[in-house]
Symmetry: C2
Subunit: 230 residues, 2 copies
């Protein structure tokens, strides 16, 4: 049966942008599972599956509803053990949590700020109003002020990615010879930026940019088919 993925979009339903939803989409594709993306706007989230979660992604697989990208990956790994593994063992599963925390705390704050006005610009009127109000309350300043600081932080952001960059001198993927869910965790963050804003996060010669390019080609170009923001 086709799995449903509730996937965050703005006014253009063909441009899902949430980093966490991209993690789930890549995990579903990695498992080779048939799924259908259900375009979901910020203001629709509370009604998804009768209020199953305050955030997306949410998936429905038959009678099972799962929220949270990491929980979804764990669920898929357990429910479809004969499909390609997302973790390659218990160690990979445990260590992926460290990668997830690193990505969330190192990459997300910068992108969340750098892409903030662009993300606002992707929403329809009602969702844009919600986005501005909720984010300005969170940051304690205007969206424009938050995004304006991105140039000053760019070099420091790029430097903060050095563990990933250095790892890529040892192996082509966080997962080793091939991608695993930990790759999708970091990929999701950078794909969020790619879809929202043309702002150049990475130097073109950065090995991380090459790895990101490889991610865009995975699973028949699932993530690359959504054009970068122009």
């Amino acid at each position: 049966m086709t799995i449903l993925l509730y996937d965050l979009v703005g006014s253009d339903m063909t441009r899902p942008f949430s980093p966490h939803c991209w993690k789930a989409a890549m995990a579903l594709a990695h498992k080779g599972l048939d799924y259908r993306s259900v375009p979901t706007r910020f203001l629709d989230v509370s009604a998804v599956e009768g209020g199953a979660s305050k955030t997306v992604p949410v998936i429905r697989d038959g009678d099972v509803v799962v929220a949270d990208s990491f929980a979804i990956a764990l669920y898929l790994e357990q429910a479809y053990p004969d499909r390609p593994s997302l973790f390659e063992g218990a160690g990979g599963e445990a260590h992926a949590r460290f990668v997830e925390r690193w990505s969330q705390l190192t990459i997300h704050p910068y992108i969340g700020a750098a892409a903030l006005t662009a993300l606002h610009g992707m929403q329809d009127a009602a969702n844009a109003a919600y986005f501005r109000e909720s984010r300005e309350a969170r940051f304690g300043k205007s969206l424009e002020e938050v995004s304006a600081a991105r140039d000053a932080g760019l070099q420091s952001f790029r430097a903060s990615l050095e563990p990933l960059r250095s790892m890529l001198s040892y192996q082509p993927w966080i997962g080793g010879d091939g991608p695993l869910f930990a790759d999708y965790i970091v990929f999701g963050a950078l794909q969020w930026a790619r879809i929202a804003t043309p702002y150049q996060l990475l130097d073109a010669a950065d090995p991380i940019a090459a790895w990101f390019g490889r991610c865009l080609e995975l699973h028949d170009g699932l993530a690359g088919h959504v054009a970068a923001a122009a």
Copy 2:
């Protein structure tokens, strides 16, 4: 046959201090292997096993000589597959490289500076002279100048550990329910500091301090039996 571990020491042969040697020692203990530590000073390293490596740890296991802590862990995993696993699968092995790069690039620079004069003070005259000359050339300033900057960097260092701290709110070890080599990677760095200097790196209430305390108790207190610097 007893495995030999060439283990870096200063003038006191009972206080091995190298972070990388601690990773290897914990990996050997995790595997339940019989090993003997061979106290090795900086100036002895080039003669270890006929010049097998420019750095320690080096192990000899029968006819096999292996250098580099990560390579040692990979070797032990492959040579002793029936012993407790250091990686719990291919995913854990791959992801451990990311943890290693994160630890090396996030934790080592700060500790290497903060403990620098203390590490110098642990050496005998000849090794102290070597240490001062080589490190002052590397840093481009005196050991004392380098270590003096530690107070100014302490809050930033503690903040840089947030991915590890946050992960510990999900699970008790980087390895999940129990420690794996990735735990020993980070542990080795903090043990290096513990043995060299009484400088308080972590707030006592930090969950990382509690995890570190659990590491000290592992394998019959292998690492805890070496007293902290006073």
